[in-house]
Symmetry: C2
Amino acid sequence: MKLLHTADWHIGRRLHGFDLTAEQQNAYAQIEQIAQEEQVDGMIIAGDLYDRRLPAETSVAMVDSMLQQLNLTDQIPIYAISGNHDSATRLATGTPWFKATHLYLHTDLSQAFQPVELSDTQLFLCPYFEPFDAQQYFSDDSLQHLDQAFERVVVEMKQHFDPTKKHVLVAHFFAAGSSTTDSETNLTVGGLAAVPTDLLTDFDYVALGHLHGKEALQSPTIRYSGSPVKFSLSEANQEKGVWIVDTAYDPVRLTFKPITPIHDVQQVTSSFAELMNPDDNDTVDHEDYVGITLTDKQPIPNVMARLRDVFPRIVTLGRTDGFETQVRYHGESSKQIRQKSPMDLLDDFYEKVAKESLSPQQEKWAKAALKVAREEGNQA
Amino acid sequence: MKLLHTADWHIGRRLHGFDLTAEQQNAYAQIEQIAQEEQVDGMIIAGDLYDRRLPAETSVAMVDSMLQQLNLTDQIPIYAISGNHDSATRLATGTPWFKATHLYLHTDLSQAFQPVELSDTQLFLCPYFEPFDAQQYFSDDSLQHLDQAFERVVVEMKQHFDPTKKHVLVAHFFAAGSSTTDSETNLTVGGLAAVPTDLLTDFDYVALGHLHGKEALQSPTIRYSGSPVKFSLSEANQEKGVWIVDTAYDPVRLTFKPITPIHDVQQVTSSFAELMNPDDNDTVDHEDYVGITLTDKQPIPNVMARLRDVFPRIVTLGRTDGFETQVRYHGESSKQIRQKSPMDLLDDFYEKVAKESLSPQQEKWAKAALKVAREEGNQA
């Protein structure tokens, strides 16, 4: 069987306030196209279809339309699970009907053990669960940690193994040895929630969701697909895409199919002057979502607005070295400062910050403002 | 065809803070039983499955489970629409798959015109819509009011009429001539949203949702089923249940099948003494949800807590005549009052309100409290 492995669509997610709907639609369209070009026998979606347990109506309409297009129009079988960002209860709506067209969407641990039987492969769809769910399912309070619970889950799955077939597990968790990025929610701490990868060696392939970079695990048989869209600056250098998994080979054959964003996410470190006056060698796409780190050491007036004229999608703005010039009044005593007029103080301050004097127009505005302030002060 | 007509389930609704889950499950179980005993060919649910556009997970799980039971387990065809309390978008999830098992759930005006074809009947499922939706669908800005829009909708439906069949309309709105109760949200004002019943005469039966009492319309062919549960005190005297509609007869034959609540809702008008000391002729079920109107004229200390000992489900408490004794100090000048000690003032007040003196224990508590207050006053 040839399966497409994707995960972590996070429909409804924003990037530092920017709407990612167009990016997510674009990535989805490429996933659909890859599935058709590769003539896959099915698509695995390893959890986190939604970004929130309580998605907005627009997100609901988007996921509904994507699943309908893939499954009903394109007639691609879907093998999906709920992730930690999804509401298992909300995602479960309609699922008993979906099986008729080979859309499997498992949202409850109890559904993990009966595999979906394909011609040469058994697919175990294990939704995101917490130790408490395993305690309930197995009636065993000793399953306090996820690794214990998952070990028990695998034992139970293996009782359903057909030795003549390949065994594929679809799951959503943090596998030990994975490297994390900062756009996954830290729902669990330290080693507590990690599942050791050696628990997963009985499967011919483990299609994981949760971490957003495909490099998080390098095992030939255990893989994160990563998210199809970059959801944070820490994902700037990740290559996004999907895995094509061919279970006819032993070990399974993996091919990565990249997805091209409309606007990429990148980290830029440069001086303000270079950013504002790009030369011919400029490699930065100004339409990208950029995290800018300035190498300048002095304060720059109105820096964000001026940069936004050139880079409309700034997601963060920082400095490599902080400021060289701290804004202090060296050499003057507090008594001397108190004797200065408000206008002189403003003049001094502006020159320290902006490295230039107030223009005649600015001075006029400042005087008018100070006059109003003085009058209101007298009234009070 | 024999159809069961219900509406306005409002799953998730509360009655003055009381959870109605058990009542709603109980009513649902009776609806299921009636459908089975009557061997109906299908069930009409005329909108407002949910009480809110954004239902809680528990409500989602409840509606999911009810529809699965009726349609997948009992194999009863379902003909449903969204109402003004539902989110059409959220309710639409999964609907393209549902048709395979004859669960029709229309949530968009565009779905209203293609009837569901039964052997002897055409079913037009028209979800709740607003004039704006009709303007969009017909590309006609002149459809400013619901009556105009609905007239146009009916014209369009009639183009799909098969003259050899009966024609049943399922809709959710306020039909002119209906009497309202106070538990429907007043989304629309006055005549604006009312649809004249003469627009509905081309149908052999119109199964309406929105108003919660089956008596709201008395037409032999246009009916509200009412809600299966009493959702407000104004519904206390309504008989709840469902209609069985047999389209084999001309005019259609209607039979009302009542639903029995676990605890009824009723309005009780009585004196405090009679309520607290029921005699053998007492007809009030103390377990009911009761709106109590007291005939007493004097203040009654701690009245709600004392009544709740006898009636655990009080939803409102009022008075027929208000209070006879206004709490005022007649005959004393404000100077005289100011000369009284706090303890004397409290004594006077309590006697006015409670028609009895403070008990020795109450006096002790009051003195202790006044001492603390005095000490804190001295410190301040």
